[in-house]
Symmetry: C2
Subunit: 319 residues, 2 copies
């Protein structure tokens, strides 16, 4: 048992999750570019979760969590508070199981995100934007509906679902020498670590984080979970803090966390957009930026990168 | 023999071209999206030449033209005047054959395009920006070097090379009921018509053109080639006029040319960017816009679209 209330997943848990996830999720492509390889000085394999349903890896965890519920639990629905990709992923997963989803969104959430979540059939509750207000609103929804709260990352099934991206990546490219994933709350990074290190402990697994939201880097360094306080980064998916379960997995298994500047993030995003013609969100550019900023570490290696998603506001780009 | 000095290609010429082209070009993916299909009311298969080398279908024609030269011709190199994708494609094709390429670029060509062409090893001659100046500069280059002029579309081998995109598309999706391609000078559209109609005359083949650069539409309607005069369209690849050879092929084989407004082009570009997470250039959005604007024509059908390229200036987007 782990120090958190959630058990530490094993590679076999991700393999089990995959029997569920592969029924609903896209097997996303692994893309390479000679051009980008030349620029980065290593051979990079992008696992393109920007082509995943709802445009992000979050769909994997949501599917696994929703379809792991018992019939009785499922009948009451699922709920969460989020204004981002997890909300859309959970709403779509619930729709696919034919159960209700209840999403608490802050009143200042962009109309476009609200519309997306509504489009998947979720029932939205609007709350004030403070964390306390959102949690209160969620507690009320749970009390009223009996819906199961699916946390975006502090959840065993969610972490196992996110790990299936690495399963597919290594199925296609088993000889990788390093894998990088972005770190926000640590769900994706924990799933990545669990699968990749379980597959082959010799593969290096690095987290990548904005220097302006380096709470995971500092937490790992000091052995305590620091909250993410007013993170000022364009990588909007990486502003959250670690949970005890993700902190524990990352502390035990990661080779380290690399931090990058905002300028490096935008440069990396631009590189992928211009050279590979795919739309990746700023959070996805963070591990690419980490390779650019740590050339020596990856030189000549075969390096996998989990591209977390492609949801950007095209009217509000950093170029 | 055709009315132009260039013979009309047959489907077998495209098949021959493919033995060359496939050695050097990417076999680009054919992408679909349930989401986009729902919005467009038909089943759309995007042949993604934005993932082609140099970011555009132009590489296919350039490869075929360069590798079709005799040893003696090739030794003297190739030349063209262009500031766009054809210049980059020709430069890279020449580099791959190990022969020189000479590109005449107008002095007002964007520095970034110049750099791209230089990056492929081309020798650049700068001219004033009028058509006459560019043609004079090209004539001088030819006289001095003996290089073969490879026209961007009024060229048999170029047209055959462009047709190989349709060959790959129909290899993957033989049951298409309609295919659309954008129309600029008509090289891509001619190659598309030649292959698709040769494969199955029952497949409808439509050209798509900006209403603000509808010279091909008017030329087809009136049976004469109109020059493209001051075309004011965001679709920068579609501002050129037809040549006798492309006019003849299009007149004989096309089901028609559909025109779209600038607003429709931007909406279609945005749809593909947001829903499919791939970067397509405005010219590529034109046939997608044509489907949106002519819903009845394509309703419920399996429709192929040649996505011509993905070269956009990310600092200068229409959103």
């Amino acid at each position: 048992m782990s120090q958190s209330e959630i058990p530490i997943p094993a590679i076999s848990d991700i393999e089990s999750a995959y029997t569920l996830v592969q029924k609903y999720a896209n097997q996303t492509p692994v893309l390479t570019s000679r051009n980008v390889n030349e620029i980065l000085g290593c051979e990079v394999f992008l696992k393109c979760e920007n082509f995943q349903k709802v445009g992000a890896f979050k769909f994997r965890g949501a599917i696994n969590a929703v379809f792991s519920l018992s019939e009785v639990e499922a009948a009451k629905g699922v709920c969460t508070h989020s204004s981002g990709n997890h909300a859309a992923a959970l709403a779509l997963a619930a729709k696919l199981r034919g159960i209700p989803s209840y999403i608490v969104m802050p009143e200042n959430a962009p109309a476009i995100k609200r519309k997306a979540v509504e489009g998947y059939g979720a029932i939205i509750t609007t709350s004030k934007s403070t964390q306390a207000d959102r949690e209160n609103a969620l507690a009320n929804v749970q009390k009223k509906t009996g819906a199961t709260f699916i946390h975006p990352y502090s959840n065993f099934n969610v972490i196992c679902g996110q790990g299936t991206a690495s399963l597919e990546l290594l199925q296609e490219e088993p000889n990788l020498q390093a894998v990088l994933a972005p770190v926000g709350g640590g769900g994706l990074f924990s799933g990545t670590l669990t699968y990749v290190k379980g597959f082959n402990t010799n593969i290096e697994v690095w987290g990548a984080e904005p220097a302006n939201a380096d709470d995971a880097f500092r937490s790992l360094r000091d052995g305590v979970i620091y909250p993410s306080v007013n993170p000022n980064t364009i990588a909007d998916g990486l502003r959250t803090s670690l949970a005890p379960i993700t902190f524990e997995i990352i502390s035990k298994k990661a080779n380290g966390i690399l931090t990058v500047t905002e300028e490096q993030i935008v440069d990396a995003m631009r590189l992928v957009w211009e050279r590979m013609k795919i739309i990746i969100e700023p959070s996805s550019a963070v591990p690419v930026a980490a390779i650019m900023a740590n050339r020596k570490l990856f030189e000549g290696k075969k390096v996998g990168v989990i591209i977390s998603g492609g949801n950007v506001d095209v009217e509000n780009l950093p170029f």
